[in-house]
């Protein structure tokens, strides 16, 4: 085992904060908004049905809750889209996302089990593809990056597969 165990100075550590993140194409935001609209539309049918059985005050309260929820989700979608992005380094990949709850997930290539690209009908219509990076031991530690251009996703997949297979 070639574990170099030298004392590292803080300044020598490769810093993740300094990397540039690549954003998603705008189409991905549009796709997300479209999905949101479809979901909202389906749910609104449910609410309209309630109208028959409820009085005006109850409807008002429900509408307020409804509007509040929608504005939070919209805020998250629009503000959050700018926060999304992935960064590739020599030995790991990082994906960041989220406005209200921001997260940065990093997977080192020598812990990757395999990689996969998938494309559903909707993402095909938008010309997008998702990349999944799998690690051992359960879905909680896997990474999924949706909304990439197909060529980009495949390039990423090949790169990660290549990089991870050089390790044992």
């Amino acid at each position: 085992m070639l574990l170099e165990n030298l004392q590292l100075e803080k300044s020598e550590l490769p810093l993740l904060e300094n990397v540039d993140y690549s954003p998603h194409p705008k189409d991905y935001r549009d796709m997300r908004l479209l999905i949101l609209m479809i979901v909202m539309f389906l749910l609104s049918g449910f609410w309209i049905m309630q109208l028959v059985f409820l009085n005006m005050t109850a409807m008002g309260v429900i509408f307020l809750i409804w509007a509040g929820l929608l504005s939070i989700i919209l805020l998250e979608e629009i503000k959050g889209f700018k926060k999304r992005g992935y960064a590739l380094r020599q030995r790991d990949i990082t994906y960041k996302k989220g406005f209200l709850i921001h997260s940065q997930t990093t997977i080192p290539f020598n812990r990757v089990q395999h990689c996969e690209t998938t494309q559903g009908p909707l993402s095909r219509a938008f010309g997008l593809m998702s990349l999944k990076v799998f690690t051992a031991g359960g879905a909680s530690s896997d990474l999924r990056i949706s909304g990439l251009r197909p060529e980009e996703a495949n390039r990423l997949k090949d790169f990660i597969t290549e990089a991870s297979s050089t390790y044992e």
């Binding site: 165990n5 590292l8 909680s140």
Partner: protein, 502 residues
């Protein structure tokens, strides 16, 4: 190495027919249970059930013989091959380096017949359990030894210079040191100091979950909830429902005793520089071999009573697939400080006596948040009590007391949190009622995640969550710049590590 040849296809011991038959009959009984119950209460249809049962029994006997005849296994240089199936022929190839652990086990029937089953655990995500159910004990031991030697050879470096080293290592491995050996008194102490409330809750969840197949889920659920917030809640609840709690406690204590004695009877843990060896159990005897390299992380747990008596339990977390989550948990139930030291020395070889540790502590916002959450937990209860009894003054007073207790508890918890980092490991300590200590090697990480809500951004705090192949833990409410540094350090350690990690 022995009189057994594993390179050729082997059958199991002939008594395997009985074992396979017993297993099948048990499965069949489960399926028939409803019919039997039905036939007791109704006339007419009843006797047909018994006829069917008789026919099925004969059928099972025949298939058992066939199953036994078609089950063969062999071992070559790189893999274990299992052939099985009556109509469909299944050939299963298990590469030796995928084997996580090999476990000998005996249930009641196997014990009477004097044979042993061998369970093979792989990290793969296939949920199928690999098992050779019936082997003579000597043969099982020999196969186990053989498998282990193969796995070791695989893992050893190939060059000549290293070969010498490895032969030294192989010699050394024969020196097994006994780590823990529980006598009956120790088991009684263990049983008395069990967390009875939790055991009781698990039992309740189990009863409510009814069927045994839900045990794992319900147990996991109760354990998770209990570990997070419930200790303080349970404590405050006790004062209010004394009578119920008293019977509940009595049953729980009884349950703890039965559980501990069944599980840890004649418990023995040994260690050499390759593996842990654990054997225990009264009716169902289990023997585990856990290669040190495959251990993802360890967690020491204790409670106030045990802490006073000076011992802790160690949970050994190995790589696992989603399906077998929770089943691969292994435990050394009673460890005093010298045994803990021994474990640490064995596992963390690069850990030096005077190693420089770096201590991190959470932001003070942690206790505020925890106090808030714990206080809010009580709101529905007090609200319902107030509405039901109309005693507003009494219950708002009680709620105030509750909030103060929770604030104190949060403060205590906050003070118990320590995060130690050095060149090799991270040690995460927390808890005062139920202190826990997680020790994970830096290169075991496979995903690192930094989380921050928009409210935490102002205070510059965040959570850092790591995952290993055996699940993960979160360091919550720490300073963001410190966590970023820790993340970079951990990533550097993982990425520069070239050996095997699971």
């Amino acid at each position: 190495m022995s009189e057994y040849k594993f390179e050729e296809f082997n059958h199991q011991n002939i008594l395997g027919v009985v074992i396979i038959f017993a297993q099948s009959v048990r499965k069949m009984l489960n399926a028939y249970l409803a019919f039997f119950a039905y036939s007791i209460f109704t006339d007419g249809v009843g006797k047909y059930v018994w006829w069917f049962f008789g026919i099925s029994l004969v059928f099972t006997a025949v298939t058992s013989v066939l199953k036994y005849r078609n089950f063969r296994f062999k071992l070559d240089e790189t893999q274990l091959v299992l052939n099985s199936g009556i109509l469909t022929k299944d050939v299963m190839n298990i590469p030796l380096d995928r084997i996580q652990s090999v476990q000998m086990h005996q249930n009641f029937i196997q014990r009477i017949l004097g044979i042993t089953g061998l369970k093979i655990d792989t990290a793969g995500s296939s949920s199928e359990e690999l098992e050779i159910p019936a082997l003579k004990r000597k043969k099982a031991e020999s196969l186990l030894e053989f498998l282990k030697s193969k796995i070791r050879n695989e893992a050893l470096p190939k060059s000549d210079e290293r070969m010498e080293e490895s032969s030294v290592m192989l010699e050394k491995k024969s020196i097994k040191e006994t780590l823990v050996n529980l006598d009956f008194k120790a088991i009684l102490v263990l049983a008395i100091t069990e967390n009875h409330i939790r055991n009781g809750l698990i039992a309740v969840a189990f009863i409510m979950g009814y069927a045994g197949q839900y045990l794992d889920y319900s147990e996991q659920f109760v354990v998770d909830v209990f570990d997070d917030y419930a200790p303080e809640l349970v404590e405050s609840g006790i004062a209010l429902i004394v009578v119920f709690v008293f019977t509940f406690l009595l049953l729980s204590v009884l349950l703890s005793f039965i559980q501990v004695i069944l599980k840890f009877f004649d418990f023995k843990a040994e260690v050499d520089d390759q593996s842990f060896y654990i054997s225990s159990g009264l009716i169902k005897r289990n023997e585990f071999t856990i290669p040190l390299k495959k251990i993802q992380f360890l967690e020491w747990k204790t409670n106030l009573l045990r802490k006073r008596l000076g011992f802790e339990s160690i949970r050994i977390h190995q790589g696992r697939s989603v399906e077998s989550a929770g089943k691969n948990l292994l435990e050394i139930p009673s460890c005093y400080s010298e045994q803990t030291e021994k474990v640490m020395e064995t596992l963390y070889t690069e850990l030096l006596e005077d190693d420089y540790f770096f201590l991190l502590q959470p932001h003070t916002y942690q206790r505020v948040f925890r106090a808030l959450v714990l206080s809010l937990f009580g709101v529905p209860f007090f609200l319902i009590a107030t509405i039901a009894t109309q005693e507003i003054v009494v219950f708002s007073g009680l709620y105030l007391v509750y909030v103060f207790v929770m604030i104190a508890a949060a403060e205590k918890y906050y003070q118990s949190i320590n995060l130690w980092v050095n060149e090799e490991v991270i040690i995460y300590e927390r808890g005062w009622l139920f202190p826990k200590r997680t020790v994970v090697k830096l290169h075991k990480f496979q995903t690192v995640e930094l989380n921050q809500t928009i409210f935490q951004a102002k205070r510059n705090i965040c959570h850092l969550t790591f995952s290993t192949a055996a699940g993960g833990r979160s360091f919550r409410f720490f300073d963001k710049s410190e966590m970023e540094e820790l993340r970079d350090f951990v990533l550097y350690k993982t990425e520069s590590f070239t050996g095997k990690w699971m």
